[in-house]
């Protein structure tokens, strides 16, 4: 069995909430991230027999993987709580 497969509820049983998720989005968001070194996957696997200009692919990827956390933050913006925009006053339109 595919470990990613799930059993879907037929449409006929979801007609009353067809546009909504079956779990509230807030609950779905509650998912702590696990802190692991970004090159761990590469380290844990036998390297593939692929070379680029005689350099093993793994040797090219590992330093780049290590920089991924900062790369994601730089490109897509850090979501640190301090960066959250101010909510303003209680009655925005007043």
């Amino acid at each position: 069995m595919d470990p990613l497969d799930v059993e879907d509820v037929p449409f006929e049983e979801r007609l009353d909430d067809f546009y909504g998720p079956s779990v509230s989005l807030a609950r779905l968001k509650e998912h702590p991230s696990v802190a692991t070194p970004a090159d761990l996957l590469l380290r844990a696997l036998e390297p593939p027999p692929i070379k680029i200009r005689h350099i093993p692919l793994l040797d090219l990827l590992r330093p780049a993987y290590r920089r991924l956390p900062s790369g994601v933050d730089e490109v897509l913006g850090d979501h640190h709580p301090d960066a959250v925009r101010d909510r303003g006053e209680g009655q925005g339109g007043a």
Binding site: P3, L4, V6, V9, F11, L15, D16, F18, Y19, G20, P21, S22, V23, S24, L25, A26, L28, K29, H31, P32, S33, V34, A35, T36, P37, A38, L40, L41, R43, A44, L45, E46, P47, P48, P49, I50, K51, I52, R53, L60, L61, A64, L68, P69, G71, V72, E74, V75, L76, P81, D82, R85, D86, G88, E89, G90, Q91, G92, G93, A94
Partner: protein
Amino acid sequence: MVTRVLHAIWAESRLALWAEDSTLPLTTHSRADVRDHPFALPASAVPKLAPPKVTAYKAAEPAVPVRSAVLLLPSSGRGPAPSPELGVDVTVRNPRVARWRVPIMPYAPGELDAIPGPSVRYFGIVGDFARDLVRRGRILPWLTEDEARWRPVLTGVDAARFRELAVAMPPVCRAVQEEGRSSEVLLGALTELVDQVARRAFPDKLIGAYRPGRKSALADRWLLALTDPEPRLDEVDEAEAAGLRTALAAWFEAARGLGGPVRVDFRLVEPGADDKWRVEFGLRSAEDPDVRIAAEDVWAGAEFAATPEPQKTLAGGLRRAVRLYPDLDWALRVPHPARLSMDTRGAFAFLRHAAPLLEAAGYGVRLPSWAGRTRLGLKMTTRSRPGPPNLGLREVVDFRMDLAVGDQVIDEAELAELARLKVPLVRVRGEWVELDDRQLKAALRAVEERRVTELTVGDVIREVVLGGADELPLVEVDADGLLGDLLSGETERRLRPVPTPATLDGALRPYQERGLAWLGFLSGLGLGGILADDMGLGKTITTLALLLAEREDAQPAATLLVCPMSLINNWQKEAARFAPSLRLYIHHGGARRRDEELAATIGAADLVITTYGTALRDLPALARQGWERVVCDEAQAIKNSAARQAQAVRQIRARTKLALTGTPVENHLAELWSIMEFCNPGLLGPARAFRTRYQEPIELRRDENAMRALRRATGPFVLRRLKTDKTIISDLPDKQEMKVWCTLTPEQARLYQAVVAEMMGRIENSDGIERRGNVLATMTRLKQVCNHPAHLLKDGSRLDGRSGKLARLEELAEEIIEEGDKALVFTQYAEFGTMLQPYLEARLDRPVLWLHGGLSKRRRDELVERFQGDDEPMIFLLSLKAAGVGLNLTAANHVIHVDRWWNPAVENQATDRAFRIGQTRNVQVRKFICVGTLEERVDEMIERKLALADSVVGGGEDWLADLSADQLRELFRLSPEAVR
């Protein structure tokens, strides 16, 4: 203003959007098998969208032509059922699935002025997951037919997360052409999002300045395309591509194999008589870590249910693990390795370095129970000196700092001996302790630096807040006297309660008297505090009592209270009710005082109330005054320390500060720092240090030591009582009724006055039944205005920021949800409920159920069952007419009447849906009233009963039709305080 709702779908093997438009007809006469969706945003509107910006590589594509997709949607015979977010008051009874063609556009949710439907927000969460996978490097490159792409590696917790997201997927996401499979749609979408993120997060080139040409080896060009905006490769030689694909596929399969049902297991065992540590090997089930088999048994031929070939699994796993734990190679030099023996240094290296890596990579790791727990720390002892107590922060106390290992205190000589041994795992009085070089140095430094024998109370508090150092945290504090009270974190319970001030027009409950004592205690020391009691426990009355108490035998300067605009009227009303002797000045609005006049007014006031916005605008003038205290109500408004209004209130100096918030601040650490920085500037140190010391360990690793240290550091300054505390429950009435005073926005006020002007003319020019009808119509329209302009106008316009009531409802709903509670929200208008439901659900991201007369009995039962049975915090919107009687909704402990029928019996019946047999908690009931409008006046009339018999009032609103024109004019009049 047009309401459009965006929906996200998986169409043509990529993410796409389509939109509903409420201005279009909801039905069609077509009877075709596949019909054009009558209110889908038409193709002619789609090209007006800006080009998608989702990814660099997509932007490089030629403009995407408008396409269409056929969707399976719930429908009536004449049209699709509108999504709830569209806010159209249409109920489709017995919907069935039908096919509708909709124009689709590229996935760029921010590009269209439309409400993002739940499916769009759902894919936002999928996007967060994609980003997290890339950040953690859980991706591998691959080669499709002719494109260089990244794809996620989903094993272990990531596979579980994937399944969680797949199960939650809104059906509409997978409704293209046929009932799609959610796991397939999600995998496609996630792969697309992962590729987008990775392509941008990696450096431009993975191999220096090398730029392969068109004739270069495929692998060279493939590598370049992995980070290039254009993933496509030209002139792919199939033989070359097949070789590359095979190697990449094997790599990917090996990665997926790391998350299989069986894990190779490593167990660290303490040394026996031979003084040798051992890492013992074995296999264990991924599902149940207790199902384990030792390597010896595997080699002896024992079976293991989770794998048909245990020996092969063990051998392969051990071989792969060498890459993360190179010392393991020593053990693998024998044919059937079962363990690796090592000295103390080796054991320490396994503990600190190899074990976390192996565990993160999916191997089983079992360590002794003491491992990972920082056992070495500082213990502080202070003793007060004889003499007059309560000298405040300058009082000198005897001080001593010791080193603690677990529950033991060790002296300097023992520490020196540990340093001499230079081994990172030592046994101290029978307990193993991890003690690396950094900690040893920190311990020696701490002893050196803290040889003093006395400190002031202020310095001791700073030591506690500092919490030692990263390597050597403060783990225990033993203090007596006033300092002991303060640092105990239970000051409120240790202090003698302050009796209700004589000038308070009301009685404090026992826990409020304890709160008052705590506020007075901190204030006396010149310290700021955060009163973070659960909502409904009386933070307002306790604060007012503090102001009254300190005026019993002194005349301190005024207190400045800063609050959101939506709360000004509440403060004004509560102060007038409970503390009429306080001289109050509202500093807000165009007519507010300035310059000398302001100074004189403040000089003659006890309490000055202003908003965060006004505080920011009038900062120079307000900062010049001499304040006794600055209070920030709804202090989450200053949670962002960099925001201008947070900086503004911090700049207003006062002898002491107080923050009021119902939000559990311990769950929001950046917010806690910002609020504490307002209350006691500098006490928690710089934000960066706070993040390193507390926020990151707690938020990223749930570090219990850091949590304990933070509680110790902030405990003295935060008072939070829960309404579920046993001692609080006994103080509270079973049902608390409160009025919530709301203001109108300027738009609401204009509409209100226009309705009054128009309808009074009609009333005066009519009589009999017609007049009666006009009066009741006026009442209805004015109540609609008080609810929301869009409720009166029925134009499908946006809801955000246009109604004081809605703003207050949002704030309350957020607090209720944050506290983990459930609420019933009653309205007498079904159309208002239909507007509120999708709006609140989108704001809260929590279920907002909506029960009205248009639902079938089956659907009503389902909603009630979900509300009662699901433990998730949620809101239940109910039509007063459809749900006022009969239902059992005891899962709610909050009831809100957002508009009023002015019939106490009907309202009480509705309230009793929650407040009835089966209710085990105190119920808080809130009735919304717009101040300065007919809502306030009718409420007053009912309260005072104004010579009207109960039976008349009990009849609803009909009696109002008999009032004279002058009485009606007075009733409908809009007072200046209605608008803030």
